[in-house]
Symmetry: C2
Subunit: 360 residues, 2 copies
């Protein structure tokens, strides 16, 4: 276990440090060790108590448990870490993966949909996954009931990746234990959370972003309005990936979500050939995607930007761009100040890159 890895693991597991903050700290300080060392001081400057950093011992325990499971860590920006996923602003700094890691090197397509999908839709998802597999596409899904299960089953022979919301060793739903174990052997199971983590409601949107982020495109098969599958589709759009949907009769209420997606611009999919045609323009990015964040630490200027930024912030979320414009400080100085407030537990980050001061 090398020192840099221990530092990375400690950094991302420390309370209050999510993937975005992690990425910014790495950008500022160049490596996880320097970032860890800087965090207490940054938090104090931001006006908060220093966070309780994840201990070296805890990191060693987690590492040992991952080793014991026969799983591997994937490190953002290194080795086998999936290139398309690394494009995300909030790409998971570490993933835990168990199974055939070489599946990460293929063209990937997500297939998601309703847990209570119709038998016909499940049959369609299974057939689509199977046909995509015959064209060397690896099928990504979430190991949930319904469409996810059908998609994994259809692609088990050819290659499939299951992204779970809890720990890689936690079976949810319980009836998928045998399937998940089969995928440890013949497919790949990926988790962002440490082993043993029971999935909670708040984990699922994070899981969904990994499915969308891993995939050149995502196919939605029967999704209820306002369902998690539609969230995955929206995330895929935001990532610039292809969103595809399987249509159905307007007389079938379960087809509504997908028909609406198509009305809003998703590509209508009838078979594997349609999927292949849709993802072809994105496929080269699987390999060509740039390493997005491993650059040298920036020169820190504007030490006194913190006070200005703090004054500009209030309880209502405002775009960071606006803070930069109003502050007159450099973008780097403002980002630094925000980072300090963040680590001090005084900043809330919102959708669309907006921030607000956390009420005391």
């Amino acid at each position: 276990m090398n020192e840099d890895f221990v530092d990375r693991l400690r950094l991302i597991r420390s309370p209050g440090i999510g993937p975005v903050t992690y990425r910014q700290l790495m950008g500022r300080f160049g490596n996880a060790g320097a970032a860890l060392a800087a965090v207490p001081d940054l938090a104090r400057r931001g006006g908060g108590a220093p966070p309780r950093l994840f201990s070296r011992e805890a990191a060693e325990r987690e590492f040992a448990s991952v080793e014991k499971l026969g799983a591997k860590y994937l490190v953002l920006g290194q080795g086998l870490y999936p290139r398309l996923l690394a494009e995300l602003d909030d790409a998971p700094p570490l993933l835990i993966a168990k199974g055939r890691l070489n599946l990460l090197d293929a063209v990937t397509v997500g297939i998601v949909g309703a847990r209570n999908a119709s038998a016909a839709a499940c049959r369609f998802a299974r057939g689509l996954a199977h046909d995509l597999g015959r064209h060397h596409v690896v099928v990504v899904s979430g190991l949930a009931r319904g469409i996810d299960t059908a998609a994994h089953d259809g692609a088990l022979e050819s290659g499939t990746i299951g992204v779970v919301a809890g720990g890689v060793d936690v079976f949810y739903p319980p009836e998928n234990e045998a399937r998940q174990k089969a995928m440890f052997e013949r497919g790949l199971v990926i988790a962002e959370m440490p082993p043993g983590t029971e999935p909670r409601a708040r984990h699922f949107p994070y899981r969904n972003r990994i499915i969308a982020g891993l995939s050149a495109g995502t196919v939605v098969v029967e999704a209820a309005p306002r369902s998690g599958s539609l969230i995955t589709a929206r995330l895929a759009v935001e990532m610039g990936r292809e969103v595809m949907a399987v249509p159905g009769s307007p007389l079938d209420p379960r087809a509504q979500g997908c028909n609406e997606l198509i009305r809003n611009g998703a590509t209508l999919i009838q078979n594997a050939a349609d999927v292949l045609e849709a993802v072809r323009p994105i496929e080269p990015r699987v390999r060509a995607a740039a390493m997005p964040f491993e650059h040298a630490p920036e020169h820190l200027n504007g030490d006194d930007a913190l006070g200005v930024v703090e004054e500009l912030l209030g309880p209502s979320p405002v775009p960071v761009d606006e803070i930069i414009r109003l502050s007159g400080a450099s973008s780097g100085a403002v980002q630094m100040a925000l980072l300090e407030l963040d680590l001090a537990g005084r900043l809330d980050r919102h959708a669309g890159g907006r921030v607000s001061l956390r009420p005391a």
Copy 2:
């Protein structure tokens, strides 16, 4: 029966003079009488025998039969003639209409589809037509079996227009006799052909162009690949009208045509609200469409363009624009030469405004 009308009727019923030639003759000569008088000479100049013009007596007989049916003529560019239809290059110069003529003044939407459509699709078409009627949309279709019949039935209360391929008084298919008679009273039936004409295979594409041309948009409900409904959809695209399609499960082979239409850009439709949203941008054209062809005769120049144009033409269709460019003559002179060749029976007109010399 005024003289101008008799001349128009004689002109369009004369052999070899279709809607495009009619429009060009009217453009050149300003009125049908002058056009009729010029035709023999034009044909001779083009190197053919003068066509047998439709006689005054035949025109009077047809007029009397239309009167007897209680039907009315609609004259392109005059009175109640539908403005959207008048936009077409090959708009019918005359239509025969029986029923509530005021339906021509409403916003119109075509609903077309398979003759052997599923019961579910027919139910959907009937419900859609009914709901559109509640929003004062007049539903246009072709009085065929299946989807057409369902669409007319759904909109019979609110207003529906049936476009037939044969004469307005010919019932095809025979089982639609009662329906067509009901539409004489409560709807409107339109024909391009003279009364008594039995519909033949070649009439149906012309009928389809009238459905598409009358309508701000056309909805396709279950259409087989390479079916007449898809031809109607293509014509609507070419006319700049909205094309809409009702999706279905990829597992249902009857949904293939519509799903492909959607993949190619048609708007996915689930209900009447979707249709109304789609046609709203086109609706104002129903009233605002310009009278396209009633302008003064052009000054004829380039009397000797005929020889040049004839040399440039061959058995392979070429765009008229290219003939104009290559000839060095004015557009007017080239069009005049083409008209002469056309009337001499020596020109074939093809899709996309291309022309070729007819093999001797």
